[in-house]
Symmetry: C2
Subunit: 240 residues, 2 copies
């Protein structure tokens, strides 16, 4: 057979879902990704709604409730997509429930400002991660992920609140800087647990080949996200 | 002046908002009503989101989160309407925060089934109340209130869950019947507090004249709502 290869592989990023998902490893990775994102949104909904109770005013309470409702709608989009591709959302989410619940258990805010910083940090890290992963995805999954991302950013009001709290009482800044560092630490520690457990997902995240993923590349992705976090915290008046 | 009265009053139910709100007492009553409904929706959001934590499965958790998000959207519609008529939503909600918080404080569910019964009962009582009040409203306010009502009914899934729990363990029924009775009792007790405090609202609720409201008619409205509740509870297998 000297004929030119008829099935020159198209890169995933240029393929649509029907084409890309013909590779069972890619399919498994996307199901993992959608499951992780969906459970993440549901858990974020719960925590934001709970933090709304700490709000000092009805306006603040409503702002946090609005963020929570937005997370819930992301959850619905992601689970709807899983159903469309004939996957059970509950089964897809299951592997990620424990690390996400553990993250939230270990980072329960003790007051309103900690809740705001967590909402802001969580939103921003999620957006960074969505952007990192989007380039690895087929066109259909990418537009879903970017659509969900597009709709975030409700947390920007948190910036203003945190800034004025630090201005009013600079000592607050030190405590919140430690808190932001702890949030990032716990997020990374749970993310590493997921990377270790979910081969297909991790391989896709770094654009690796299916028979092994590049741990160093995963490390670089985490570094980029951490650096972006550090810059954001500095802009917020929190040297992380 | 023997000429026919030129300003033969139009009944409120036939007037639109600009016409009906020319009466400052009617206007005050509607601002109260929208404030009470808005805070009620926000409080319901918070409690449903909190109850979602008690859910035994991710599917159940998502169902309660869906109800919570729907309540939040009602909250947004109601506060948006207050802004449209140049009223500050926070000021309008303020008088109703204490009775609503007190209601929820006194009726915190101790488990998933109590949470479901509360979601169902709360949804149904709210719908009954919206329907009772709708006929007293100007056409614009009525379409808002009926629109918000139209979007409820998410609680019906609760019926199925509660029924099957009682079938599996009939003893559960007795406990939940007591619980439903307590919910209704606390709701009425807070409602009576509101009636005593808010003259304009109470007067409008019974279609009374502005210089005094008919306490007996308020009592009859509460009776109708209580009867509907009792029938629903019986249908659910809970003799209230």
């Amino acid at each position: 057979m000297e004929a030119p290869t008829p099935d020159e592989p198209v890169t995933v990023a240029a393929a649509d879902w029907p084409r890309a998902s013909a590779d069972p490893r890619y399919r498994a990775a996307v199901v993992d990704l959608l499951g992780a994102l969906a459970y993440g949104e549901l858990a974020a909904f719960e925590r934001l709604a709970e933090d709304a109770k700490l709000a000092p005013t009805v306006t603040d309470k409503a702002a946090l409730a609005r963020m929570a409702a937005a997370e819930f709608h992301h959850f619905e989009q992601l689970t709807e997509r899983l159903r469309q591709i004939d996957e059970d959302p509950v089964t897809a989410m299951e592997p990620f429930a424990a690390p996400l619940e553990e993250f939230h258990r270990l980072t329960a805010p003790s007051d309103w400002l900690e809740g705001l910083v967590k909402a802001y940090v969580g939103d921003a890290i999620a957006a960074d991660f969505y952007r990192e992963v989007a380039s690895r995805l087929d066109t259909d999954t990418r537009s879903l992920v970017l659509g969900v991302l597009d709709d975030t950013g409700h947390a920007s009001f948190a910036v203003e609140k945190v800034r004025s709290a630090i201005e009013a009482e600079p000592r607050v800044g030190g405590r919140l800087a430690l808190w932001a560092r702890r949030l990032m630490g716990e997020a990374l520690s749970q993310a590493q647990r997921v990377v270790a457990d979910r081969d297909a997902l991790s391989t896709m995240l770094v654009g690796g080949v299916a028979d092994g993923f590049d741990l160093a590349e995963i490390g670089r992705m985490f570094s980029r996200i951490t650096e972006a976090h550090t810059k954001r915290m500095a802009a917020l008046g929190l040297s992380a």
